[in-house]
């Protein structure tokens, strides 16, 4: 597999996933903004948080693509549908494990146990991130599935 092409497709997959998430916000299906959540790890200034968040989120998604490539090679399946399946599982993991943990590790996120403080004011996502709208689980799964499918399609074409 050509490394430069892999990097390019990692970027394309991240762009596709970001577009799905942003469209979900734009169409009013979800209030989840991963860039805002990522950006506010580093700054409390909303406008800067969004910019930094997008940048870091894009870099993270790009690098994570190589984990997917590793997965495809390890099981020997190089198809778009397997990529989509991996993305779906990734999405479920994000929704049921990672996002609910955020209040314990995010420096600016409030929690239902500790309440709101001067530093911690961001609304926590809750289980399956439904605090950000009942459509959030579906849109998050859709975004992750698209991400995996794009990467899977690339390795399918490349092989």
């Amino acid at each position: 597999m050509n490394l430069a092409y892999a990097a390019l497709w990692g970027l394309l997959a991240t762009v596709a996933m970001t577009m799905v998430l942003r469209a979900s916000q734009g169409f009013g299906w979800s209030r989840l903004s991963l860039p805002l959540l990522v950006g506010t790890f580093f700054t409390s200034q909303r406008d800067r948080a969004v910019v930094w968040g997008y940048l870091l989120y894009a870099i993270g998604g790009w690098l994570f693509a190589f984990v997917y490539f590793l997965l495809f090679d390890s099981v020997g399946i190089h198809t778009w549908w397997f990529g989509a399946l991996a993305g779906l599982v990734h999405g479920v993991f994000l929704l049921v494990s990672v996002l609910p943990l955020l209040p314990f590790i995010h420096p600016r996120m409030a929690s239902e146990y500790h309440g709101v403080t001067a530093e911690r004011q961001l609304e926590p996502p809750g289980f399956m991130a439904v605090n950000y709208g009942y459509g959030t689980p579906l849109t998050t799964l859709a975004a992750q599935t698209v991400y995996g499918a794009v990467l899977g399609a690339f390795v399918q074409l490349a092989n």
């Binding site: 916000q25 734009g26 009013g28 299906w29 979800s30 209030r31 989840l32 903004s33 805002l36 959540l37 506010t40 409390s44 200034q45 909303r46 406008d47 948080a49 600016r108 409030a110 929690s111 239902e112 146990y113 500790h114 309440g115 709101v116 403080t117 001067a118 004011q121 961001l122 609304e123 926590p124 996502p125 605090n131 950000y132 709208g133 009942y134």
Partner: protein, 555 residues
């Protein structure tokens, strides 16, 4: 307000129903203080919308903060919150969120209810009580977010900081008011009200923040005023500039020039704060209406109407805002010139007038006057070097301006009545004719203006107030006097040098403000009560311009 049973509410007040209320704004701010006094003691409620710090911190997008403090004795307080979003078309059950308070979630919107008063659900409402002794404080924060994770503002000393920051911000803002004449407090209150009616993100100023507060109780005169009328543009810009709020005036002008690009060179009567042009009217039949005044309407079909005066309003606003400030940028110059071209093509056509009369189109005299003002303003901008017009265009605009003036003077003035008339070749008057003396078409002291003023007062005046017109407009119910028309009359008096009369009328008009110095669009002639949507930007614009006219006449 629009339906006591089905509409939402947020009340924070003594549980004892027998109390007296006194309220005021914290001086030179938009922070409201309400004192409740009961047999057992008194409490003070403070209401505000904390000022956003422009994205420098994680404050909520929009927040209403209420703080209640015991002043004397002990008072049992009841908080009741009933959230009914989407005009009460959705049912909503608040969710308890542990120590984060309660959330009301619909679509991609969320209202977070955060308070240090213990709440419980009662049906779909949240209710709670607390007994406050002197010096004890409780807070209620309602934080609204759309499309993003919510930000939950802390209470206690952090809420106090937000209150202090907001008071300081308003005092700084009102401190920049350059009006130093009489009635300064009233002028400042009007300027604050205009600021509150401004959509910060675009600079647009809405006519009023409400819909369907009736202009005649129990009749059909209920309209949605949560839009920006170009009709108000010239006088609003003038009021902002006269009080020293140049930034706000330029922002408003910028919004106008931007919003109107969608329909340019034709202009639409009104736009929403985002510049959207489709504002279709709907009736909300499930709501009872204020004082059983049905229907409740959202949207406003007046946007489909044709009003020729609005071209003059936009150009007048541009002239006022840009006076002595160099040359217009190319795009703005092109846009304004295009408005002149439209006026040259259409000024002799009929329209719905400044009053948006629903019915057959007519040749309204004031619409012609504003067409004249369009061309006059553009030629003045050309003379000042702010706008470069080709020679042929200068000749065209000059020729059409003269033709319009001729039509107004020959057909818009009824020699038998000794007055300008509402429509060409007519025999009725309307109060918009007073503006001829305010906008510079005619000197307010001109014999024709004086006699027009007299006839308007004779036919439209009641109890020191003015109706807007004498014609039946095809809608049931008798409307009240128009607040702004009373202020236009004062403007005329001041401009023609009748200062005593102007001040006397001004004080009379002030007597119709509510306890906070606010006006609706109309005033009930018999009772003096406010009618129509509230508070009304146009009336406050009239107050400012009349006070400025008095001050200028004095000096």
């Amino acid at each position: 307000m629009l339906d006591a049973a089905r509409g939402g509410s947020c009340s924070l007040r003594p549980r004892d129903p027998f109390f007296t209320v006194e309220r005021r704004y914290v001086e030179r701010t938009a922070v409201l203080e309400t004192d409740f006094t009961t047999d057992s003691g008194s409490v003070r409620l403070i209401d505000l919308m904390p000022i956003d710090d422009g994205g420098r911190s994680l404050r909520p997008m929009r927040e209403v903060l209420r703080a209640i403090e015991g002043m004397a004795g002990t008072v049992e307080i009841e908080l009741r919150l009933d959230v009914r979003p989407d005009y009460a078309r959705r049912s909503l059950r608040p969710r308890r969120r542990g120590r984060l308070g309660w959330t009301c979630l619909w679509g991609d919107e969320v209202l977070v209810v955060h308070t240090d008063i213990a709440l419980q659900r009662e049906g779909d409402a949240l209710v709670g009580t607390v007994t406050l002794g002197a010096g004890e404080r409780r807070y209620l924060s309602l934080a609204y977010t759309k499309g993003d994770p919510a930000v939950l503002p802390p209470l206690g000393r952090h809420a106090e900081e937000r209150i202090a920051d907001t008071i300081a911000w308003w005092r700084d803002w009102t401190g920049r008011c350059q009006y130093t004449g009489p009635y300064r407090d009233e002028v400042v209150r009007s300027a604050v009200t205009l600021k509150l009616l401004t959509y910060t993100l675009s600079g647009a100023i809405v006519a009023a923040p409400t819909t369907s507060l009736p202009e005649a109780i129990g009749k059909g005169r209920n309209w949605d005023y949560r839009y920006c009328w170009l009709r108000d543009a010239g006088l609003t810009t003038e009021a902002l500039l006269a009080t020293g709020y140049r930034e706000e005036a330029l922002s408003f002008l910028g919004w106008m020039l931007h919003a109107t690009r969608l329909s340019w060179p034709e202009l639409q009567v009104m736009y929403d704060v985002f510049g959207r042009t489709r504002l279709d009217e709907k009736e909300l039949t499930h709501l009872a209406g204020y004082a059983a005044s049905r229907p409740v309407r959202i949207g406003n079909d007046a946007y489909r109407q044709r009003q020729l005066d609005i071209y003059g309003e936009v150009v007048t606003a541009a002239c006022a805002a840009l006076a002595g400030n160099g040359r217009l940028d190319r795009e703005s110059a092109r846009m304004l010139t295009g408005l002149g071209d439209v006026v040259c093509r259409q000024w002799y056509e009929s329209d719905c007038s400044i009053w948006e009369v629903r019915g057959p189109l007519r040749h309204y005299t004031f619409s012609k006057v504003m067409c004249w003002a369009t061309l006059d303003g553009l030629l003045k901008l050309h003379d000042d070097g702010a706008l470069v017009l080709p020679t042929a265009k200068v000749e065209l605009f000059g020729r059409e301006r003269a033709a319009i003036e001729q039509a107004i003077e020959q057909r818009g003035f009824n020699a038998a009545l000794g007055s300008y008339t509402s429509v060409l070749d007519g025999d009725k008057v309307d109060a918009s004719l007073l503006l001829m003396g305010c906008i510079g078409y005619k000197d307010a002291g001109d014999p024709r203006m004086r006699s027009t003023y007299d006839l308007i007062h004779q036919r439209l005046g009641r109890n020191g107030l003015l109706n807007r017109y004498e014609r039946f407009d095809g809608i049931a119910g008798v409307e009240g006097a128009f607040g702004i028309c009373g202020f236009w009359a004062i403007d005329n008096l001041a401009k023609r040098g009748d200062l005593d009369a102007a001040e006397r009328r001004f004080r009379h008009m002030l007597s119709f403000a509510n306890d906070l110095g606010l006006y609706a669009e109309e005033i009930d002639i018999a009772s003096g009560a406010a009618l129509g949507n509230f508070p009304q930007a146009f009336t406050h614009v009239g107050l400012i311009n009349a006070a400025v006219a008095i001050e200028r006449a004095r000096t």
